[in-house]
C-alpha cells in the first residue's frame, strides 16, 4: 500500500511540472511585453525596472521559469494589476465560496441521482427506468447556465422567493447563506446528477446480478435491505470514483455558475480577471484550479485503492 501511494504521489510531479510550465507560458505567449501584461499600461519606469529584475526578464526563458517557480514556492503569486492586492490571499479568499458551492452542488446531485439510479436499476426496463434515463439525457444536454437562467426566471422573477445573485458567509447569516446558495447549487448539481445517475444505475445492475445478492435474496432478507445494504453498499466504489473524475467538470461548471449568480468564488474571479486583463490573477487562478483538480484525482485513486485492494498491485 505504501509503495502504491508513493508511486502515485511521485507520478504527480511531472504532471504538476507540466501544468506549471503551461501556466507560465500562458502569460509569456501574450503578444507584447510581459511587463505590460503583468503591470498594466500605467506602470512607471521604476516599477517596470523593478519587475524586470524581480522576474529576471532579461534572462533566458528557462531561467525565467525557475525564478517564477521559486516565487511561487514561497507563496509569491504576484500582485493584481487591478487592485494591487497580493494574488495568493485573493485566491484563498475566493476558494471558500467555491468550496461551499461545490459541496452543495455535489449534495444536490447525490440527492437526485442515487435514488433515481437505484430505482432505475431495480426496475430495469420499466417506466421508472425510462423516465430516469430521459431525465439523465435532459441533464446532459442542458447547458448549465441555461438551467441557472430558468431558475432565476422561475424563483426570482415569477415567484420572488430566492435571491438571484450574491453570497452571504454562513458564519454571518446562515439562513441568508442557504437562500443564496440554493439556486446556484441546483444549477451546478443537476449538470452533475445526470452522469452520477447513469453510473449508479450501471453499478447497481452489475451488483444486482452478483451471486451474493442472489444469496441474500434466497435467505429471505427484506427487499429493501438487499437493495440498500448488500447491493448499494457494493456499488459505491464506482460512484465515488466518478465523483472524483467529475471534480474537473465541477470546477469548470463553477466558472459558469458563479458568473450567472455573481457568486464571488474562483470561477468568477478567473472570468473577471480575464476581462480586466489582470494576468497575474488569471495565472494564479488557473494554476490553483488545475493543481486542485490533479490533487483530487490523486485522492480519488487513493480512496479507490483503500477500498479495493486489487488495485494496489498494478
Amino acid at each position: 500500500m505504501k509503495r502504491y501511494l508513493l508511486y502515485r504521489i511521485a507520478s504527480l510531479v511531472p504532471i504538476l511540472f507540466g501544468v506549471s510550465v503551461v501556466v507560465f507560458l500562458l502569460v509569456r505567449l501574450i503578444p507584447g511585453d510581459p511587463v505590460v501584461a503583468l503591470l498594466g499600461m500605467e506602470g512607471s519606469q521604476s516599477a517596470i525596472d523593478a519587475l524586470r529584475a524581480h522576474f529576471a526578464l532579461n534572462a533566458p526563458l528557462p531561467m525565467q521559469y525557475l525564478v517564477w517557480l521559486r516565487h511561487l514556492l514561497t507563496g509569491d503569486f504576484g500582485q493584481s494589476i487591478q487592485s494591487g492586492q497580493a494574488v495568493l490571499p485573493m485566491l484563498l479568499g475566493a476558494l471558500v465560496p467555491t468550496l461551499w458551492l461545490s459541496l452543495a452542488a455535489t449534495a444536490v446531485s447525490l440527492i437526485i441521482a442515487i435514488p433515481a439510479g437505484v430505482v432505475a436499476a431495480t426496475r430495469r426496463d420499466g417506466p421508472a427506468d425510462f423516465g430516469a434515463s430521459l431525465l439523465a439525457l435532459f441533464g446532459l444536454s442542458m447547458p448549465s447556465f441555461w438551467i441557472g437562467v430558468l431558475l432565476i426566471l422561475g424563483f426570482t422573477i415569477y415567484l420572488p422567493l430566492l435571491p438571484a445573485s450574491g453570497y452571504v458567509a454562513p458564519s454571518t447569516d446562515f439562513s441568508g447563506f442557504l437562500a443564496h446558495i440554493i439556486l446556484p447549487a441546483i444549477t451546478l448539481g443537476t449538470a452533475l446528477a445526470a452522469s452520477v445517475m447513469r453510473m449508479t444505475r450501471s453499478a447497481m445492475l452489475d451488483v444486482l446480478g452478483a451471486d451474493f445478492v442472489r444469496t441474500a435474496r434466497a435467505k429471505g432478507l427484506p427487499r429493501r435491505q438487499v437493495i440498500w445494504r448488500h447491493a448499494f453498499g457494493n456499488a459505491q466504489i464506482p460512484i465515488i470514483t466518478l465523483l472524483g473524475i467529475q471534480f474537473g467538470q465541477l470546477l469548470g461548471g463553477v466558472v459558469i455558475t458563479e458568473t450567472v449568480f455573481s457568486w464571488p468564488g474562483i470561477g468568477k474571479l478567473t472570468v473577471d480577471a480575464i476581462f480586466a486583463r489582470d494576468y497575474p490573477v488569471v495565472q494564479g487562478a488557473v494554476l490553483l484550479t488545475a493543481a486542485l483538480f490533479v490533487l483530487v484525482n490523486l485522492l480519488t485513486d487513493m480512496v479507490y485503492a483503500l477500498v479495493d485492494p486489487r488495485l494496489r498491485r498494478s
Binding site: 501574450i30 444536454s141 422573477i157 470546477l251 466558472v255 488557473v286 483538480f293
Partner: protein, 282 residues
C-alpha cells in the same frame, strides 16, 4: 476491445430502427437545415434592427419576439445554428485527426516517443476543460477561430488516448505482423492498416464530443469569449437575455431551447452510433 472486425452488414441500418436514434436524427437534421438555409427561412438578417419593435414578445411578424435592439430572435436562432455546427464540426475534426495521429504514432512507436506524447496529453488533461478553453481564448483573444482552436485542444487527449489503446490492439494482430515481415514501412502500416482499423471508436467518440463542443462553445460565447458581436450565437444571445429577464423572458427561452435540442440530438445520435457500431454493446 476488438473493433477490428469489419462491420457486418446491417449494423448501420439498425440505427434507423431505434426510436431514440430517430429522434436524434430528426433534431440534428433540423439544426443542419436551419444552418444551411437560414437566409431563405426568414425575411430578416440577424443584425437588422427594428426600432419600432424592441423587446417585443412573440408576434406574427416576429414569431420568437425581438431583442433589445429590435433584432428578430428567430432569425438570430437560425443563424446561431451556423456558428454552433461550424464550431462542432471543425473542432471535432481537428482534434479527431490530430488525436488519431498522435495516439497511433505513440502506440506504434512505443518507448520515449510514446512517453513524451502521452505525458503531454496528460498535462492537457490536468486542466478542467472549460478552464483550459478559457485560458487559451484569454491569451489568444476572443474570436470564433480561437474558440474552435481552444475546444480542439481540450478534446485532443481524449482522441489520442483512444487511438493509442486501439493501435496497441491492432499492431498485436497477425496481419500487421505479416505486413511488417513483408517489409512495409511504419508510415505505410500506420496509414493503410492501423488508422482505418481504429477509425470506428474515434468516430463514435467524435459524435459524442460534438455535443460537448456545442455546449463548450455556448459557455465561451456566453462569457463573451467566443464569436464577437454582432455575430449571432446562442451563447451570446443567452448572455444578452439576462439583462432583460423580467422584461422579455422569451429572449432566454429560445436560444436555450436551441442549444438543448441540438445537443440532445447529437447525444442521442452518438449513443445510437455507439450501440450500432461497438460490438461490445451487443
Amino acid at each position: 476491445m476488438s473493433t477490428v472486425a469489419v462491420n457486418p452488414p446491417g449494423r448501420l441500418r439498425r440505427l434507423g430502427r431505434r426510436p431514440r436514434a430517430l429522434v436524434g436524427f430528426v433534431l440534428v437534421a433540423i439544426a443542419v437545415f436551419a444552418a444551411i438555409f437560414a437566409p431563405w427561412l426568414t425575411p430578416y438578417t440577424p443584425v437588422q434592427p427594428d426600432f419600432g419593435a424592441m423587446l417585443s414578445g412573440p408576434t406574427l411578424a416576429h414569431p420568437f419576439g425581438t431583442d433589445d435592439l429590435g433584432r428578430d430572435v428567430l432569425t438570430r436562432v437560425l443563424y446561431g445554428a451556423r456558428v454552433s455546427l461550424l464550431i462542432g464540426t471543425v473542432s471535432v475534426a481537428v482534434s479527431l485527426i490530430g488525436g488519431a495521429l498522435l495516439g497511433s504514432v505513440a502506440g506504434y512507436a512505443g518507448g520515449w516517443v510514446d512517453g513524451a506524447i502521452m505525458r503531454a496529453m496528460d498535462i492537457v488533461f490536468a486542466f478542467p476543460s472549460i478552464l483550459l478553453a478559457l485560458g487559451i481564448t484569454a491569451v489568444l483573444g476572443p474570436s470564433l477561430g480561437n474558440a474552435i482552436l481552444a475546444i480542439a485542444v481540450v478534446n485532443l487527449p481524449v482522441f489520442a488516448r483512444i487511438a493509442r489503446a486501439q493501435t496497441l490492439v491492432v499492431i498485436s494482430l497477425d496481419f500487421v505482423e505479416a505486413k511488417r515481415a513483408l517489409g512495409f514501412g511504419a508510415v505505410h502500416i500506420l496509414t493503410r492498416t492501423v488508422l482505418p482499423n481504429i477509425a470506428t471508436p474515434l468516430v463514435v467518440q467524435g459524435s459524442l464530443l460534438f455535443a460537448a463542443a456545442i455546449i463548450t462553445e455556448s459557455y465561451l460565447s456566453f462569457l463573451g469569449l467566443g464569436a464577437q458581436p454582432p455575430t449571432a450565437t446562442w451563447g451570446t444571445m443567452l448572455h444578452d437575455a439576462i439583462g432583460f429577464l423580467s422584461l422579455a423572458p422569451s429572449l432566454a427561452w429560445f436560444p436555450g431551447m436551441a442549444i438543448f435540442l441540438t445537443v440532445m440530438g447529437f447525444n442521442l445520435l452518438g449513443d445510437a452510433m455507439r450501440d450500432a457500431l461497438d460490438p461490445r454493446s451487443d
